[in-house]
Symmetry: C2
Subunit: 343 residues, 2 copies
């Protein structure tokens, strides 16, 4: 018989989470009954809520307020209570259309993916640049700007591309540059930075300078990739009632402009496959203790990968958030395969 009791308690908890997520107001025992037929009286619900409170799932804002879910409730909800659904078909189509005819520019699809995700869940979304598991030299191009200066274009294995200029102490012709490009391209293709360093090529001073600059760029590549990301939908998140207090709003805003936490969180938490949900205090980053993250990887395993995530108050629709991250990161992965080809 205790089984039906447990089931009802689960149910009550689920309803509390759902209602609270929807309305941002403490959930009263009677309002639970108003919209859901549980076949019991409000007093019973109150008992269940007392139990849930004792077990640490919910709390009350003041002596006789309704119930408010705690981290533990959300965790339990994510684990056991949310029927992890897919996104509704029509939304899937809308997104696919939106991200479909976007040409083949990284920048654009990443930004659009962030926008779509944010709008889907009414919170902020972030997409990091794709990052190679290992950057390999692919191609180098040299263009004379004027006698003492050349433009270097460097393409790495993940189709990421860097442009920079280099000045020389002596005049350099386009012919020299072309020769250097041929030599370096032939010698370095497919190599990692370390392999490049160990490979002894016969280089004249100019080629040496170019090759040194190239290696330096590759070395800094990882840093850069972390730095750049698209964040969209801040206004949606900050429109949520949890940020009515000005200081919390500004605090979050500051956090979002700094973004240093992003790297730490991704490195330490989003390592595996699938969608990772980090609720409030579960986050090692103290500044994020009253926010939740729903993050997932996209990309091609062992080749390139980036991260797509949602940031919002703990009171969020986790089911929907997980579905959104899952679906949209899938689309991004498709995009990556298409653009990179099947090497």
């Amino acid at each position: 018989m205790t089984k039906t009791v447990d089931r009802r308690r689960d149910n009550v908890l689920k309803i509390i989470v759902n209602e609270y997520v929807a309305n941002a107001m403490p959930v009263a025992s009677e309002s639970i009954l108003r919209h859901h037929r549980l076949g019991v009286s409000p007093a019973t619900i109150r008992n269940d809520m007392a139990y849930l409170e004792e077990e640490g799932y919910i709390t009350r804002l003041y002596t006789s307020s309704g119930g408010v879910p705690l981290d533990k409730a959300y965790r339990y909800y994510v684990e056991n209570l949310s029927n992890n659904m897919d996104l509704p078909a029509e939304e899937q189509q809308r997104i696919r259309r939106m991200l479909g005819d976007v040409g083949e520019e990284y920048e654009r699809i990443l930004r659009l993916a962030a926008v779509a995700t944010a709008n889907l869940v009414g919170n902020a979304a972030v997409v990091t640049y794709p990052r190679s598991s290992e950057n390999r030299f692919r191609h180098l191009e040299l263009v004379e700007i004027h006698q003492y200066m050349a433009l270097i274009v460097l393409i790495l294995s993940n189709a990421v591309l860097r442009r920079f200029t280099l000045s020389f102490n002596e005049p350099v012709s386009q012919e020299q540059l072309d020769d250097a490009a041929v030599k370096l391209n032939r010698g370095y293709i497919g190599l990692t930075r370390r392999q490049m360093r160990n490979k002894k090529l016969e280089l004249d001073p100019i080629e040496k300078k170019i090759s040194g600059a190239v290696m330096e760029i590759i070395a800094h590549e990882e840093e850069l990739e972390y730095e750049s990301s698209y964040m969209e939908g801040l206004r949606l998140m900050l429109g949520q009632p949890e940020f009515t207090q000005r200081d919390r709003m500004l605090g979050v805003l500051e956090l979002m402009e700094a973004k240093a936490w992003l790297r730490h969180v991704i490195d330490s938490q989003v390592t595996g496959e699938g969608v990772k949900v980090i609720i409030g205090e579960e986050n090692p980053e103290a500044s994020l203790h009253d926010l939740s993250l729903v993050f997932g990887k996209y990309g091609i395993p062992d080749q390139v990968g980036g991260t797509l995530g949602i940031i919002g108050p703990k009171r969020m629709d986790y089911g929907r958030a997980i579905a959104a991250v899952y679906y949209i990161s899938g689309i991004l992965s498709e995009f990556m395969s298409r653009v990179l080809g099947e090497d």
Copy 2:
């Protein structure tokens, strides 16, 4: 004799603007005297303030509040009252150091310039990508990704660079691509899109496809350049007391995420040389009626140019803002010349 009166009134207005900018609180007649020796009694100041109110320079929040500057006051202040100073030398140095050792990547210096500007004035700053007065073909590079797909790297005259992939219906080798690159580079160098279109080269189907794609990219270039910009320091602006009201804060946030206004404003208002100040209702864009903009161009005249601007509440330190835009856009211009070389 009326001259000394006028001078004093100017002075009063100046003090009111300064104090209000500093404290965001209505300026009382006595508090004007507290910190500035004007040699007259508070009653005289009150009379002057009554005059300023009548003339539409200031207003009062309620019957007996202190004076608050109106748009007209700020305009008059910018025009006549602010001793348009330079940035303090030490700040100039700090900025130059910050933007100096930044390598030669556009993205990074643009972002840093936005950050520096924002911090300097405690408001949001925006930097648009540099934009060519006319995009000319400079160099093309083709890399095989796999048999049916190639990576195209396109460099335009302003050193802007686009990467995209192209699929073919028939297998293509790197040799073919190299040949095509040589031919197209030779044929198109220095041409605008229109000139390219008119120039009849002998092209095989593959080359034709590549050349078509290139022209398409150039055609879309202008749009893209407008779209991307760096905005920093939102949190600083929103920390200002004018945004204590939640809805104003969210309104501004929305505005800043959309950015559609940016293009209109720049096109219609920031055409000329020098720093342009747009105060509140002066702005044709109604959504910006209680904000002010301080915008300026950077770049190389008739070659490439972008815009650097400050966005904040009307209550801002215009002197400092103008100096900041002036100085930092100067640095960006230097950067552009250095990177582009002296063609």
